[in-house]
């Protein structure tokens, strides 16, 4: 039993949380009011089975219909849902927070129970839900808020940007896999007959008949199922780069051609069965790897939907609200203060202040003058602005950044993995050796030259080597997925195994971003309740994280002249008295005595209360860090916050080294210094400002609830934001690399024995074929061990009263 977790979202509970909910006659703890509402609603609908069926926690519940009012605007409906036919509309929404199978079950039943909903279909693969509903009976915003309450944040999915590619890729791989599998079984069957015939004696006509039939079933396996290897080899050839596909394609083509030649001349041995098996195993490994990668891409697909769905277009007759995607270059639009610029464009006002943090990581607002370029995704800080549209939708810089991230993930990573280097080195040597052996035999005994050369090629077939890596990586990816770690860039796994330095961002990573009051010091006869109420009133509309520490019932009095000074504090007039809450130098009047605490509350310049604040550390942070230290990793804390708060967190978690007041650029400096002195480092972060550091680290991990930009730059994504997944993942990856090394050593040892024997003509072709198949099977079996005894139990169903988990399917 781990720390107590929320019954609904399975996030660790913060200390002192007292929210309870009655479930089936028992009290269960939940982390927040949103989750409580979700539990109550799910049980009220008779859908309590969800908690029994799921294998991972839900996203925290939040949201109300008002948050999604924009979904009901005619412009949005027209664009995203098309025109109503007989009052029925159809729309596809992208969902954030789809974690496990039970999600599909819950969503389909929960939304299906709403009046006016005609059809709900969830596509778990692409995290989309398609809805058909009667406009007159239920509004889309009601349905969207239902989803949000359950913990699935709905986004409008651009109908022109679909995840068709992933779907197509998956379908193609499935078909190839099955063709290879069925072909393999058939070829094996004929192979058994041929082997039996070889020992028991078989009429050559019958034998040849079996061989031609074997060829007939092997041909589609080689040319249809094995087509990715040939096209991959062609790509590598055009790029003049010897990769993994070249040796595979060569081996397939040569062995297949040789088998046909042998069948035709009635030679000793054919290899159709071994070939089909080889293709099948390779495809199986690739399919597993691809499935994991697709899941990662789907979760990143939401990135481009960070833009507002609506815009205000300035027309001759006034301003009109339109869907962002209806905008065309040349249109003029207005962006309200605090809102996100939906398109790339050119500023029409004389002056504007925008925040481009999502694009550059620079948190300070940037001044723009008339005619300057504005980028989609930046935020108008202080005042509304007008701009002329230059580029929309997919043409914006933000979208192209997102696409870049996409294609970087889709393409094979630039850096070659250890096994690939080994295989590349190996295949070149074998090819040369085969030619030499063939020449030598032509000289001594020309009648056996072809047979021996073929035996060398077949026995040394790089199958074992080329399977060594993908099978182990696929097994590792699956194991990591069970831990709640999504692998975005598989090549990072090898580096992760070497990592001995782990760097953490503080806010949102080690802490959950919440701040709490640890101590209150009072003066001038104010009691604590009143001090907190005044503070709550002052912070009512503030957006800084500190404001949430003071969330409480505000004073009933009249409030005016509310001001917020970034990084300093807030002030307001309450019932005619001027109150300030903030840093001492801001809140205190000149010459006034100060009080203990990080934040002071002052009345007309006199301090009446001081609050000591503390970051709320994630409940599994301490144990995760202890585990990291246990497996020989050094940890370091990098934060943009003030030294005192960073030091407090570092001390509580046992982190020896920390740096405070770090801007993104300074964080990169620290990172590079660490990487140059003590090898590759893992950077864990969550915020937009962490994105540049994440991009620069040898391996990077982003929290699942972090900013999209951070996730786009990360190699790994921690779903559920569980920190203890990091040490678990590192252990699994280290074991994976050990397995890969074993595989390679095995393949080497086998080849060291088999190749000389074959070159000397001691290996009859049938033995070569068995050797080739057996060496591959050993490798696949060794990799699969990672799955069998490797993965720890899933994090599911740890709630005390939950029925036994059904486990991963």
């Amino acid at each position: 039993m781990r720390d107590p977790v929320c019954f609904h979202c399975q996030e660790p509970l913060t200390r002192g949380s007292t929210l309870q909910v009655m479930v089936a006659g028992a009290e269960q703890s939940v982390c927040c009011a949103g989750c409580r509402a979700a539990v109550e609603w799910i049980h009220g609908q008779g859908l309590g089975d969800y908690y029994r069926l799921r294998s991972d926690g839900a996203g925290p519940g939040r949201g109300s219909a008002a948050d999604y009012a924009v979904f009901d605007r005619p412009a949005v409906l027209r664009y995203y849902a098309g025109d109503a036919v007989d009052g029925v509309r159809e729309i596809t929404l992208a969902l954030d927070g789809m974690r496990c199978v039970a999600c599909t079950w819950l969503i389909e039943r929960a939304l299906g129970a709403e009046a006016g909903v005609l059809r709900v279909k969830v596509q778990p693969l692409t995290a989309r839900v398609s809805l058909r509903w009667r406009d007159a009976e239920v509004s889309l915003s009601t349905l969207a808020s239902r989803l949000a309450v359950l913990g699935y944040t709905p986004h409008l999915a651009d109908p022109t940007h679909t995840l068709d590619r992933i779907k197509r890729e998956r379908r193609e791989s499935l078909k190839r896999l099955v063709v290879a599998g069925v072909g393999m079984m058939q070829a094996m069957m004929y192979g058994v007959a041929l082997y039996a015939g070889a020992f028991e004696g078989m009429d050559p006509t019958v034998r040849d008949f079996f061989r031609w039939v074997s060829m007939a079933v092997a041909a589609p396996v080689i040319f249809y199922a094995g087509q990715p290897f040939f096209s991959g080899a062609w790509r590598e050839w055009r790029a003049r780069r010897l990769g993994m596909d070249t040796p595979v394609a060569l081996a397939l083509a040569l062995a297949f051609a040789a088998s046909i030649y042998e069948s035709w001349r009635g030679g000793a041995e054919v290899y159709f069965d071994s070939l089909t098996m080889f293709v099948f195993f390779l495809l199986l490994g690739r399919f597993a790897e691809q499935s994991v990668r697709h899941r990662a891409q789907v979760s990143l697909g939401v990135l481009s939907s960070g833009l507002p769905p609506l815009a205000r277009r300035i027309e001759a007759t006034g301003e009109v609200e339109v869907a962002t995607l209806e905008l065309a270059p040349g249109d003029q639009i207005r962006v309200a203060a605090g809102c996100t610029v939906p398109v790339d464009g050119e500023l029409l006002d004389a002056f504007a202040e925008v925040d481009e943090a999502i694009l550059t990581g620079e948190a300070r607002p940037i001044d723009k003058r008339c005619g300057d370029g504005l980028l989609a995704g930046s935020v108008a800080v202080s005042r509304p602005l007008r701009l002329r549209v230059a580029r929309t939708g997919a043409a914006t810089l933000l979208s192209s950044l997102a696409r870049m991230a996409d294609s970087a993930h889709a393409d094979k990573p630039e850096s070659l993995l250890m096994a690939e280097r080994v295989a590349r080195f190996f295949i070149g040597r074998v090819l040369i050796l085969t030619v030499l052996v063939a020449l030598a035999w032509l000289w001594f005994a020309p009648e056996r030259a072809f047979e021996v050369a073929l035996a060398v090629l077949v026995v040394s077939c790089p199958c074992a080597l080329s399977l060594a890596l993908p099978t182990a990586l696929a097994a590792a990816s699956q194991g990591l997925a069970r831990l709640g770690v999504m692998v975005v860039r598989p090549a990072a796994l090898e580096t992760l195994a070497q990592v001995r330095q782990v760097l953490f961002d503080k806010t949102g990573t080690l802490t959950d971003g919440r701040i709490r009051i640890t101590r209150t010091t009072l003066a001038h006869g104010v009691d604590e309740a009143r001090a907190l109420a005044i503070a709550a009133t002052l912070e009512l509309e503030a957006t800084h994280p500190i404001a949430r520490a003071f969330a409480g019932a505000p004073l009933p009095g009249e409030v005016s002249e509310r001001h917020q000074v970034a990084g300093q504090g807030v002030e307001a007039l309450i019932d005619g008295h001027r109150y300030r809450l903030g840093r001492a130098d801001y809140a205190l009047g000149p010459g006034q005595p100060r009080l203990d605490g990080d934040v002071l509350l002052t009345l007309d310049g006199r301090a009446i209360a001081g609050f000591a604040l503390e970051d709320q550390v994630r409940s599994d942070a301490a144990s995760a860090l202890a585990e990291l230290h246990g497996i020989g990793c050094h940890t370091r804390l990098l934060s943009g916050d003030a030294a005192a708060r960073v030091a407090a967190v570092a001390q509580r978690l046992g982190i020896a080294q920390w740096s405070a007041d770090q801007q993104p650029a300074a964080k990169i400096d620290v990172l590079e210094q660490v990487q140059s002195s003590s090898g590759p480092a893992l950077m864990v972060g969550d915020g937009v400002n962490d994105a540049p550091v994440l991009g620069r680290a040898a391996v990077s991990a982003a929290m699942g609830q972090g900013a999209d930009l951070a996730k786009a730059h990360a190699d790994l994504i921690l779903l559920g934001s569980r920190l203890s997944a990091i040490p678990d993942a590192m252990r699994l990856v280290r074991r994976t690399m050990a397995t890969i090394r074993q595989n390679i050593h095995w393949a080497y040892a086998y080849n060291a024995l088999a190749i000389p024997a074959a070159a000397l003509g001691w290996v009859p072709p049938w033995l070569a074929a068995i050797g080739m198949s057996a060496s591959s099977i050993v490798v696949v079996w060794n990799s699969m061990r990672l799955l069998r005894d490797g993965a720890p139990p899933p994090v599911s169903a740890e709630s005390p009263t939950a029925a036994p988990a059904l486990g991963p399917m």
Partner: protein
């Protein structure tokens, strides 16, 4: 052994039929969701499922 000349081509025909059936299934969304249907059977559905109604409209 001549029977092989009939049986083996016959088995090949069956294989082709099986692969064709599988391709059809993949193209018709049968493999889009491999996990939910397995769970469906475990859920106690005491309330009639409203989603079913709508299946007729399709």
């Amino acid at each position: 052994m001549n029977i092989l000349l009939v049986l083996i081509p016959l088995s090949l025909l069956l294989v082709i039929a099986a692969v064709y059936a599988f391709f059809w299934a993949v193209d018709n969304d049968q493999f889009e969701d491999m996990e939910t249907p397995a769970l469906d059977i475990l859920a106690d559905d005491e309330t009639p499922m409203p989603t079913r109604k709508s299946d007729h409209d399709r």
